[in-house]
Assembly symmetry: C2
Homo-oligomer: 174 residues x 2
DNA sequence: ATCCACATGTAAGAAGTTACATGATTCG
DNA sequence: CGAATCATGTAACTTCTTACATGTGGAT
């Protein structure tokens, strides 16, 4: 799964600009895929050159022009090839977890600060997903993904809350 | 969090070879950090040159020599700097989730195959974590990390099982 | 016979990050 | 008056992946 595959996936239904694509990722695909402008814009330009997508320039007043990209037949083919390819194992870089693993090299206050910070982050992500759930135009498969994502996120939040309240219980030093 | 930081973390307590480090990652840090030999060996060589670690060559018979790396004072300093630095947001590349999101472009059989495959993978990872739990020599903070990891993994497995059984229920096409 | 575990490495290329550069508008 | 949003891009750098190269010993 490269940036290209995901971009083709989101352009399949709706033409979008690089800016739109980043927002779409952040709103609908948090914790599944991350991409910065430094990746998105060069990728889009390369994909256009190679014929996977076509550019349409929307002139806007007061704002910079928008480059709307449409998927081509070649792009749809490439996307199908991705969909048929074997699933790649997930890769995660989870700094917070590493801190916990190496936690004995930090202070108790530090660890508690980390736990609360992560809880805040996870709660925010969970709320984001709950907002997506309200969207009426999701297909069955998208709802499955959302459901799994919610279960995982909810599980993490609940366990973190338990851990924090245990650590903060007045008797935890006995 | 770079490869270097994690390597310093595991070498902090025990001297290890590149081969050992990879096995340690796979056993104790699955789903938190992934590194291949192509990353580990060059990183170790660079770190030695820069004085973060020291090499001790263990001559073995019948097997290639083992390069045992020890952390230095400079290495411990660098590790402390990492521990005190702000936590980086996690990055995930989760191909399976993407397939679900884009699932309408695949067949129902395909989707079910994906779900079952992922369930098998997650179950395997969960078993791995449960084995780590049996280890007697884990510190409190490591147990916290494990507990959170188990909760997340368990939540995912349970929800996936529910999803699969719902899809396979004889009446799901009504 | 063949494959797996042990063990280390290199080289080429793909991919991604960060910082920089530009510039109008809107909101507080 | 400053910050955020909209909007696109480049350049330098870091990092990671993949494939190759080598070789022994043990298990099936």
């Amino acid at each position: 799964m490269k940036g290209q595959d995901v971009i083709l996936g989101v352009l399949h239904d709706t033409p979008m600009s690089g800016y739109d694509i980043k927002q779409h990722f952040e709103k609908y695909l948090p914790d599944m895929f991350v991409a910065s402008f430094g990746t998105i814009y060069p990728t889009l330009n390369r994909m256009e050159k190679e014929g996977y997508i076509e550019k349409e320039i929307i002139v806007q007043e007061g704002k910079p022009n928008k480059h709307l990209y449409h998927i081509t037949a070649k792009g749809k083919e490439a996307f199908q090839a991705y969909i048929q390819s074997p699933i790649e194992p997930k890769t995660i870089k989870y700094d917070f977890m590493m801190r916990l693993v190496f936690g004995k090299h930090a202070s108790e206050e530090q660890r508690l600060k980390w736990l609360k910070q992560e809880l805040a982050q996870l709660t925010e992500d969970l709320d984001k997903l709950k907002n997506v759930e309200q969207e009426p135009c999701l297909c069955a498969s998208e709802r499955l993904a959302l459901r799994l994502g919610l279960a995982i996120q909810q599980g993490a939040v609940t366990e973190l809350e338990n851990i924090i309240s245990e650590l903060e219980a007045p008797d935890h030093k006995n």
